[in-house]
Symmetry: C2
Subunit: 309 residues, 2 copies
């Protein structure tokens, strides 16, 4: 374990979270708007502001960021939630500013490292974690080793195909899991159902997965149906993960996962029905434990050099 202090940063499409971390514990934290639509230069200004208050005491900086991240070269190849981010040399920019070691990692890989070292996946050798939100991400620990892959692009759970002739996804592929269970598709699904059925969802001007989950818990049938369907689709995706990775534990994190039982039950049911040899396998499907802190903790774990890459 790193005894030194590090700055951890988690760059999302909406907010940048930063923290001063010591030994897997958060000492202080901060949250700033990302201003993603203003382009890379402006976002980098925000990132610097997020780091600045903590940097004097820190031995280095670890950053989790969504997208195709080249950790070894320190380059953000492409980030779907940040406008105009293509081949941005983020590590170089921050080293120049702060003159301290900087490492970047895919945000979901960071969350997975966090939950594996300090949270819900602690002690397990084979872990698959995915995040449910605007996008659907994934990351794996295989035989006790974090999986980055040949190019550092492993774990793209949201863009694994569950229906080869399904609807077109924003990534260009067809029938990706994210096309069924990304936040906006959950809302679209609810709206489709609202047109035909009696539902308390009609009281809302702007729907979100959170509102739909709340109404489901209050007993709204349509809202429950939405989560049963979402759970089915995710269950198909998780069945594939279990068939391929055979993990001890599948961690479901991210905003949408807070729906709880109404989501987890249809997922578990689908997996029991669908996965090869389910009755002979030990596996768990559980929520994350660290919430919003997983990303900064994992980014620091990565930056402190405790992983192989």
């Amino acid at each position: 374990m790193a005894k030194k202090l590090f700055v951890g940063v988690d760059i999302g499409g909406t907010n940048i979270k930063s923290a001063l971390v010591e030994n897997g514990k958060i000492k202080k934290k901060r949250k700033l708007p990302t201003k993603a639509n203003l382009g890379p230069e402006r976002v980098i200004v925000q990132i610097k502001s997020a780091i600045k208050p903590f940097i004097t005491k820190a031995a280095g900086i670890g950053i989790g960021i969504a997208g195709i991240i080249d950790s070894q070269k320190g380059i953000v190849r492409f980030s779907p939630n940040l406008s105009e981010w293509h081949n941005i040399k983020l590590v170089k920019a921050l080293k120049k500013e702060f003159n301290k070691p900087v490492r970047i990692i895919n945000d979901v890989n960071a969350i997975c490292l966090g939950e594996w070292q300090y949270g819900a996946a602690k002690g397990y050798k084979n872990v698959f974690l995915f995040t449910l939100g605007t996008g659907v991400g994934g990351a794996a620990i295989c035989e006790g080793v974090p999986l980055f892959g040949a190019n550092g692009f492993s774990g793209e759970f949201g863009h694994s195909v569950i229906k080869f002739n399904g609807p077109k996804c924003s990534c260009g592929n067809y029938g990706c899991l994210e096309r069924y269970v990304g936040a906006k598709y959950i809302v679209a699904n609810a709206k489709r159902k609202m047109r035909k059925k009696i539902t308390s969802l009609k009281n809302y001007k702007k729907l979100t997965p959170h509102i739909i989950a709340q109404e489901a818990k209050k007993g709204d049938k349509v809202s429950k149906e939405v989560f049963t369907e979402i759970g089915f689709y995710i269950g198909i995706g998780v069945s594939n993960i279990i068939a391929l990775f055979d993990p001890d534990v599948v961690i479901i994190s991210g905003g949408v996962s807070r729906a709880g039982r109404i989501l987890f039950e249809p997922i578990r049911k689908t997996v029991r029905k669908r996965v090869l040899g389910a009755e002979h396998r030990n596996y768990k499907i559980i929520p994350g434990k660290l919430g919003d802190d997983a990303g900064v903790l994992g980014a620091v774990y990565f930056a402190s050099g405790l992983t192989s890459r």
Copy 2:
């Protein structure tokens, strides 16, 4: 590397292949019919006969066998190609007979270890191998470590779903890749097309993927179409593998893979179109190199204790 002699065994639905192996090289080999339909007791007699001629010089026995294999307990939980194999204590039976160390491993995991140590995947850290035949199997090396998974059941590529509402698979699930590209479905696909179109396939009483591939190479359009479609389905599966594992190399082995270019081209084309960030990834999709020997070599590598499990 193991300098000792080992017996390697590869138990298939049709034949049992065995070999005396030293230092990754086959000294002598043998092939016997499996007699799978006669039940476990009779098959075990065949396995013993396959081992016997090589056993005196050997330090141990490594066995690759299809199905859900519990390597740690030495039990074959279930084997789809061997009739009535449920919870068969194969290691115990063979230790009793030969009084030497015995290890069993899933056949595709064995083939993957073989190709990784001695064949097409040599030197790579992230590998996914799959086999195309009666069934479709898979196995992975992640960050230089063979992936067995929490229960030893990882890599079930054939039973990953590519269409959640697709046709029912023999495993009970729906829309599994194997349901589209297993040998008998390739033949069924060809027969469907034969009814409607002019094709040289009509000259054959009994079709096999091998015959269809041969006719495709001779210029038969329908046969080519069959492999283009098969390649598309496999390409979808491989796209999912690349999205999830991000391997340096995807090895395609097994009988059907011998079709060569007519199969590999549509696979590669589909992957280029479908996989997230294809243009930023380095990956190769290539055939295996060791042919029928991969399984016995990998089983010996496993039995010689060079892997962690």
